[in-house]
């Protein structure tokens, strides 16, 4: 079974215009204070504090093993914290665990589902597990099916669905009860580019009703979908960084022979869709430019345009974004083997 296209309004790639979050305007749905988690002597999370506000998407970033999933599992009640407090909508996840869990929708990594169940059966089961019944359950299931475009597969056995549909079923079970907080662990894992785009739009739509906390390895995705990112390294929170908004374009890095630098600069300036050209000094026999373009994905067009005027560039690639540079700078202390 293949993934069908979501409704057009879910294909949003830009963030909705709304009040800036994270500055005390919207009330906090999640409040994490000095959170710590130890496994024996190993400290998986150490003194992490941050908040997630209503209608805000916060991205949790960090290398593998930095404590992202552990934090999500504590938030959702799967693990107990060793120290510190976590409150969901005012309810402590340890003392008032059931009330806190009732306010959370959770999409675990790799979308674990009951493969033998049919989609509708699974959604009804998850609704009843959250105490829903009667008309409320029916409404919740119908609404989740519609939001996730699952109507064509309501009778399908989950084990036979494509990866994209399984991910949608996993998200549908998490939004059945209109949770205050939606938690997604690596939701783009295993999805093809089209499904990633659909998911991005979907997250923005879901953020109209819930606070969203999401982890992902793909920084560009975070940049497009999140209002703020919290960057973790070795269980410690390095920074909570507000994102200004969607980038309107992209930066390219162009390298070419230094002896033809003037011709390259002139050719670049003359290309359509170029917002600015800045000379860089890469050293050696090469000259470099940082080129601001109106749209992402312009690197092949720029390389082709240079070719047409007789210049073979050595390198034409998209430069790292601000978030990527921030992430790389902050996590530089981690030795990668």
């Amino acid at each position: 079974m293949t993934s069908s296209t979501l409704t057009p309004d879910l294909h949003l790639t830009d963030k909705a215009r709304r009040a800036p979050a994270g500055f005390g305007i919207a009330p906090a749905v999640v409040s994490i204070e000095r959170l710590g988690k130890r496994y024996g002597r190993r400290c998986a999370v150490d003194g992490v504090s941050f908040e997630v506000n209503e209608r805000e998407v916060v991205g949790l970033l960090g290398p593998n093993g930095s404590g992202k999933t552990t934090i999500l599992r504590i938030l959702t009640g799967y693990l107990r914290p060793s120290e510190g407090t976590v409150r969901i909508d005012g309810f402590d996840v340890v003392r008032d665990g059931q009330q806190a869990r009732a306010r959370v929708g959770y999409v675990p990594e790799n979308a674990p589902l009951y493969g033998h169940m049919r989609v509708d059966e699974f959604l009804h089961f998850m609704g009843r597990l959250r105490g829903m019944r009667g008309p409320a359950l029916r409404r919740g299931v119908e609404s989740a099916r519609a939001r996730l475009s699952l109507d064509p597969v309501g009778d399908a056995v989950i084990g036979r669905l494509s990866r994209g549909y399984r991910q949608r079923v996993s998200i549908a079970q998490a939004v059945l009860h209109d949770p205050k907080l939606l938690v997604l662990d690596e939701p783009t894992n295993g999805l093809d580019p089209r499904q990633v785009i659909e998911l991005r739009g979907l997250l923005r739509t879901l953020a109209h009703d819930s606070a969203v906390l999401v982890t992902s390895h793909i920084l560009a995705e975070m940049e497009r979908v999140a209002d703020r990112v919290a960057i973790l390294l070795d269980g410690r929170l390095l920074t909570v960084h507000p994102l200004a908004g969607p980038r309107s374009g992209a930066s390219l890095r162009v390298r070419a022979r230094a002896d033809r630098a003037d011709e390259v600069a002139a050719a670049l300036s003359g290309l359509p869709g170029i917002a600015g050209v800045t000379r860089e000094e890469p050293g050696g026999a090469l000259a470099g430019w940082r080129v601001e373009v109106a749209e992402a994905g312009a690197a092949p067009h720029v390389a082709a345009a240079l070719c047409l005027v007789g210049i073979a560039s050595v390198e034409t690639v998209e430069a790292a974004s601000d978030l990527e540079e921030l992430f790389l700078r902050l996590t530089a202390s981690r030795v990668v083997h």
Binding site: R73, G77, P112, L113, Y114, M117, R128, L129, M132
Partner: protein, 233 residues
């Protein structure tokens, strides 16, 4: 209550979706039917005592196949995360799995009532031992299922869960043989832990409160350990 009933229904469906339940029931009925027929023809006595002993041994061998997947499969497939992050207690999850497993085993044992019907049709059996024998089987099944669930809650591997459960059941079944090697009064304490020694009186029509209490305590202890095995760490 809605959540608990949903869990029980889901567990029952999961049991009967798998071919294991049908295989277990078929093997149990074929072996017991064979045993009942042979005993009846050989002894010509209207009793089910022999059937109860056979059924008890088969429960020891077959219950691990029913309980092995209960938590191990949920843990391996990641669906345990769905259950434990829902607003339900660990105890409800354990009780639902216990209720579903017992439901299947009780239905399986109930199918042997046909033997009692055969005896009633052709003779006048003593119903006391038959009632107590069935009560003994139900209590034994409860104890075995709860221990099996506790073992399954500790591992993500179904085979490990089955083998360890079988080991524990075998040890508790045959522990009376060890008791003979121990000095008094330790031998009495050890003998008191034997599933066989506790089940034997039920099969022959004798019911003691101590045996009843033993099976009840083992069942509750098993359920408690299963809930502890699941507990959020």
């Amino acid at each position: 209550m809605t959540a608990f009933l949903a869990l029980v229904a889901k567990e029952l469906r999961a049991l009967f979706v798998s071919p294991i339940a049908y295989a277990v029931i078929a093997v149990f009925l074929v072996l017991n039917g064979y045993g009942f027929a042979v005993t009846l023809i050989a002894t010509k006595q209207a009793t089910l005592a022999n059937v109860f002993f056979q059924a008890a041994v088969q429960l020891v061998l077959l219950v691990p196949l029913v309980t092995m997947r209960q938590f191990a499969e949920e843990r391996r497939g990641g669906t345990l995360e769905l259950l434990l992050t829902a607003p339900v207690r660990e105890g409800d999850i354990v009780l639902a799995k216990f209720a579903a497993s017992m439901g299947m085993l009780l239905a399986m044992v109930a199918l042997t009532l046909i033997y009692a019907g055969v005896l009633a049709r052709f003779s006048t059996p003593d119903w006391g031992p038959i009632y107590s024998g069935y009560l003994g089987l139900v209590l034994l099944a409860g104890a075995l299922v709860s221990i099996g669930l506790a073992v399954s809650a500790l591992t993500a591997n179904q085979i490990v869960a089955a083998v360890v459960s079988l080991g524990v059941f075998g040890m508790l079944w045959a522990i009376d043989a060890w008791a003979a090697l121990l000095p008094s009064p330790i031998d009495d304490w050890v003998l008191g832990l034997s599933l066989l020694a506790r089940f034997q009186p039920f099969a022959v029509g004798a019911m003691y409160a101590s045996d009843f209490g033993f099976f009840l305590v083992v069942t509750l202890l098993g359920l408690f350990l299963a809930a502890r095995g699941l507990a959020r760490r």
